[in-house]
């Protein structure tokens, strides 16, 4: 074998080219592996959706009671709950608040802001569990009380929030 490789000039050259080829393959493999590993995205969409959902729920329910302003016609959820409307409407977020009475009828129109298609996208994510580029949602359902004509009634509050924010690398000029 040794004779075959080293004793002939042609074989020796072939051996060098072969070695160079191996080095290139190994190099490309290591560079690709490291690049893929360190450019991995830290996915916090679900945590963001949960935070948004909790923030809204804590804002509209005070000590178990639904806030009264919510039934007003010009109720501004973003102002009331200190949520920036521009960020929510940037395309990366969505939320929907639905209030149901004891007969499961809507007490008022749903309050929503952001990209409404997230609701359907989130259903797809729930069914497939593999749609990585899709938004992630979090739904929180709580029971509370509200007063109507001096009587206390039960209300079911459903807050659905979704996020698809990826963030981004910025260049030195920005």
């Amino acid at each position: 074998m040794k004779k075959l490789i080293f004793d002939k000039r042609g074989s020796e050259k072939l051996f060098s080219i072969w070695w160079l080829f191996v080095l290139i393959i190994v190099g490309i493999g290591i560079i690709a592996g490291v690049y893929i590993f360190y450019s991995a995205e830290v996915n916090i969409k679900e945590v963001e959706a949960e935070l948004l959902s909790n923030k809204l729920m804590d804002c509209i329910v005070e000590q178990g009671f639904l806030i009264e302003d919510i039934f007003e016609k010009n109720f501004d959820i973003s102002k009331k709950c200190s949520i920036n409307q521009e960020v929510i409407e940037s395309g990366d977020f969505y939320f929907n608040i639905s209030l149901y009475d004891e007969n499961k009828k809507l007490l008022r129109e749903s309050i929503f802001l952001g990209t409404s298609s997230f609701e359907k996208h989130c259903q797809v994510v729930e069914e497939t569990k593999e749609a990585k580029k899709y938004p992630m949602c979090f739904e929180r359902i709580e029971k509370g009380l509200y007063s109507e004509e001096g009587k206390l009634k039960e209300v079911t509050i459903k807050v659905l929030a979704g996020s698809n924010q990826k963030g981004g690398k910025i260049s030195i000029t920005s």
Partner: protein
């Protein structure tokens, strides 16, 4: 060494030296990538945005930024850049640990956020608007 000996030794020496150079370059690349800024910029920006969104007005948050400083110093950032490693502007937190840019992430809370460094601790003050 006669000519025959030289002809045998030189290619071998070149071969070994080239291999050493190749392995060193690869190791340097792996080491630089592992201590690189990109992953830390992203992690810090997202962590800080989550902290802001989870905070309540009136809160003061102390955040350990030691590793960030370490990377910024390794990347030889100017003292001016060191002061602006983390900025909160237009509902966006930006972390810059290298001279090649930074990483930005939005927070949805409509708060007035300000920050300053006290040593390696990032002090964040969250106020109502």
């Amino acid at each position: 060494m006669d000519k025959k000996g030289e002809a045998l030794v030189y290619p071998l020496v070149i071969f070994v030296v080239l291999n050493i150079i190749f392995i060193t370059l690869l190791m340097l690349f792996v080491f630089k990538s592992s201590t690189g800024a990109l992953i830390y910029e992203q992690t810090y920006a997202k962590e800080l945005a989550l902290l802001i969104d989870g905070a309540k007005p009136g809160m003061e948050i102390n955040f350990n930024f030691e590793k960030g400083f370490e990377i910024a110093e390794k990347n030889k950032l100017s003292s001016e850049s060191i002061e602006n490693l983390v900025t909160f502007k237009d509902y966006q937190v930006t972390v810059k640990l290298s001279n090649s840019g930074g990483y930005s992430f939005n927070y949805f809370s409509d708060y007035d956020v300000s920050s300053s460094f006290e040593g390696h601790i990032l002090k964040i003050i969250v106020k109502e608007k």
